[in-house]
């Protein structure tokens, strides 16, 4: 008993000396470790070299032993200068699980030791995934957090909505380049209709952009590959979000108002996966903090301030206005809407008058439904990565872009480029909900740039032309040939 009392007094004196040595004054200390009593397991002593170390073995491969307080005191400067961090991390490893449960309400599994607490102890950052007071879960539906050996973090909510975050070097969610002729493909004279009415030497100003799109698809594939690498680790999750870049941060809260997960992202990219572990979209933060919210009630997300890529369908630019994105689209082109090698037929339709003052739904939305796309709201941009059968839009500053062709919706107006450009992905019917009378088809070609025609055969924009039937020195749009045949 007597020896025990002497030992305890010695330890108290040692602790007091250690605190003073580290500059603690009052309640504030310059380091953050919580229970230095265990530090000896984080700092080792090399008996061969008679010095502190954080290496598990000495030069002869023999295991180093945990440093004793005496050994630390012998070389306290080395401890404070070199090994304090190791000690801190070890301390954190010991206390993180319990502390995170207390502080953020999340059940923790795995090793969170790669994370860092903020100086004030209010935040925990794990490879850019931040936990703070706003992340605190209250109630009975708190997520379970697992820190994985590969540096990723899994979140699984109690009521669906699961998320996986991972640090990696991959990147995605980019905006396709829409440069002019030759931006990627070098010089390639544009298809032209010189007065002689000769054949078009095909020319493809958009070939470059198509190459750009291919390049981007490769990047998407790479990013998807990165995601797939760790997908196998987390089979069984209904939906997931993956952070695909080392840079930036992503802050997750759950459940959100839709019962799903909410991600607040800065300067990084997330991948959202469905229950089949297929990537539904990538979300990249813009200049401002982006937000993505998943839903458990519908195959939808809401987002703002992010660039989204729906693989093999479209790339979207989402503004500050919260926008709902429905993900019921079908990847790839509709086999019934193929590339043409000539000109497309035009079917007449019975139209209505321009709708003035019609009440339309101008809420923010982008809906992928099979091979159709519906867009509403303002400041939305969709880069198509496939053909679409119907593109319906209503709102302001809405852009639908296929290769070099950007179609803009401004209220009742549909704005179209004055120069003929390459559109690698056609759209069978383009409708401005505020002018249902005039609908258009954008036909894509294997060997030509594009042809836009309205469904009543009134207007066309394209490089599909032929020589004038009666004046060989002139050219006409090929769709007009029948005018001369019937006369």
């Amino acid at each position: 008993m007597k020896y025990k009392i002497i030992f305890l007094i010695s330890m108290l004196l040692f602790a007091l000396a250690l605190i003073i040595a580290q500059g603690c004054t009052g309640d504030s200390c310059t380091n953050t470790f919580q229970n230095f009593g265990g530090f000896g397991q984080g700092v080792l002593f090399d008996n061969q070299r008679n010095q502190l170390t954080n290496q598990p073995t000495n030069q002869e491969g023999q295991p180093n032993s945990p440093a004793t307080p005496d050994q630390i005191l012998q070389d306290f400067d080395a401890f404070t200068n070199q090994f304090q961090d190791s000690a801190n991390k070890f301390q954190q490893k010991e206390v993180d699980s319990q502390r995170m449960q207390q502080q953020f309400g999340t059940q923790v599994e795995g090793d969170p030791s790669k994370g860092q607490w903020s100086a004030d102890g209010q935040q925990f950052n794990y490879n850019g995934v931040e936990f703070d007071e706003q992340s605190k879960c209250q109630g009975g539906s708190c997520p379970q957090t697992q820190f994985n050996p590969d540096g990723s973090v899994d979140f699984q909510g109690q009521e669906g909505g699961n998320m996986n975050l991972k640090s990696d070097t991959g990147q995605t969610a980019f905006k396709p380049e829409t440069g002019g002729a030759g931006s990627y493909g070098g010089d390639g004279g544009t298809g032209s209709a010189p007065a002689g009415g000769g054949t078009t030497a095909s020319a493809n100003p958009g070939q470059a952009a198509a190459q750009g799109a291919n390049q981007q698809m490769q990047e998407v594939s790479q990013a998807m590959g990165i995601v797939q690498q760790f997908l196998g680790l987390f089979q069984g999750f209904a939906d997931k979000l993956a952070k695909t870049s080392d840079e930036g941060t992503a802050k997750i809260t759950t459940p959100n108002q839709y019962g799903g997960l909410s991600a607040s992202i800065d300067d990084t990219t997330l991948a959202y996966m469905n229950s089949q572990n297929q990537v539904e979209l990538f979300a990249k933060a813009q200049a401002k903090t982006g937000e993505v919210n998943t839903k458990t009630t519908a195959k939808e997300i809401t987002a703002k301030n992010v660039d989204l890529t729906v693989p093999e369908q479209a790339h979207l630019t989402i503004p500050e206005q919260e926008t709902t994105i429905r993900l019921n689209g079908i990847k790839g082109n509709d086999p019934n809407f193929r590339e043409a090698t000539n000109t497309a037929a035009i079917n007449s339709i019975t139209g209505q008058a321009i709708i003035n003052g019609e009440e339309v739904d101008l809420s923010q939305y982008i809906q992928f439904q099979n091979h159709d796309l519906a867009i509403g709201g303002k400041e939305l941009t969709v880069y198509t990565l496939k053909t679409f059968n119907n593109v319906d839009a209503a709102g302001q500053d809405i852009n639908v872009i296929s290769g070099d062709v950007a179609i803009k919706f401004q209220g009742q107006k549909i704005l179209y480029p004055r120069l003929v450009k390459n559109a690698p992905y056609g759209i069978k019917k383009i409708t401005n909900q505020l002018d249902k009378e005039n609908q258009y088809q954008l036909q894509h070609f294997t060997n030509k740039d594009s042809l836009l025609t309205d469904y009543q055969g009134i207007a066309s924009v394209g490089d599909i032309f032929s020589t004038h039937p009666k004046i060989p020195g002139l050219v006409i749009a090929k769709i007009r040939n029948d005018m001369w045949k019937t006369n």
Binding site: E177, G180, S192, P194, T200, P205, L419, F465, I476
Partner: protein, 268 residues
């Protein structure tokens, strides 16, 4: 009852026969005359038929119509111009024809309606003598000064009034014919075509990269026209307006728009 003698009956039949023959002869005479009046200049020449003064006057009026139609076609191909404007593309394979640039990298050159009227008038005054020279028949001589034409383009029609006092000499007989007393009115949608062309051109002031395609479609449809933007060069679009309601063949009116093309320019 009085009995008619056999001699009297023969007389009646002879008179009736003479009347019938005379009627038939007159019918054939007028039929042939009308037929001749309906013949055009080439048919008279080909058949070696000697025209009348009336025929010659018809030929002169026909010349005005023929020249006006060819002028309409030419100014359509040349975007409303007969004489070359400042900026144009040479159609070297089409008898020196050209296509004007209505918009050329910020430079506007679309003609006003008055300019098109003037250009068409100039063409008619230049080309009419070539047609009149073809009215070349034995015993007929035409003398005339330089013509002065006034063209008016209106909704659905154009009116051509050519001031040209002609003298027609036929052997010892002289007949004056004033073409200005026979103004020509032709069905034409040139007025609407110019309206649509003006819309396309002026819309550059608002946005020189994009055009409101459904606005243009709607306007073109209301005017019963068609519009095609055809790739002409990497920086140039051929705009073709077509009407298919007033003439046997579709009528073409075309012009060019040229733009500054910046590499890697993001259009958004």
């Amino acid at each position: 009852m009085q009995r008619v003698s056999q001699k009297s009956q023969v007389t009646i039949f002879i008179v009736l026969a003479v009347c019938l023959l005379a009627g038939a002869g007159l019918f054939l005479f007028f039929l042939d005359k009308e037929k001749n009046e309906n013949l055009d200049r080439e048919e008279f020449s080909a058949r070696g038929i000697q025209p009348s003064i009336t025929n010659i006057q018809t030929f002169i009026s026909d010349c005005l119509k023929e020249t006006t139609l060819s002028g309409l076609e030419l100014v359509g191909i040349q975007g409303g111009y007969y004489q070359k404007p400042e900026r144009y593309y040479d159609l070297s394979n089409l008898n020196g024809a050209f296509i004007p640039y209505y918009y050329d990298q910020g430079f506007y050159q679309n003609p006003s309606k008055q300019t098109v009227e003037t250009q068409l008038s100039l063409y008619i005054d230049d080309a009419l003598p070539f047609c009149l020279k073809k009215i070349d028949f034995k015993n007929f001589e035409l003398t005339y000064p330089v013509s002065k034409t006034k063209t008016i383009i209106e909704e659905g029609k154009i009116t051509i009034t050519t001031t040209l006092p002609l003298t027609i000499k036929n052997e010892d007989k002289t007949t004056d014919f004033k073409l200005q007393d026979h103004p020509l009115t032709l069905e034409s949608e040139l007025n609407d075509i110019l309206t649509v062309a003006d819309y396309i051109t002026q819309s550059h002031t608002e946005d020189d990269t994009y055009i409101c395609i459904n606005c243009l479609t709607q306007l073109t449809k209301e005017k019963n026209l068609y519009v095609d933007f055809i790739a002409f060069a990497p920086d140039t679009t051929l705009v073709m307006l077509i009407e298919n309601s007033t003439q046997p063949d579709p009528y073409i009116f075309q012009f060019l728009n040229r733009y500054k093309v910046e590499e890697d320019k993001n259009e958004i």
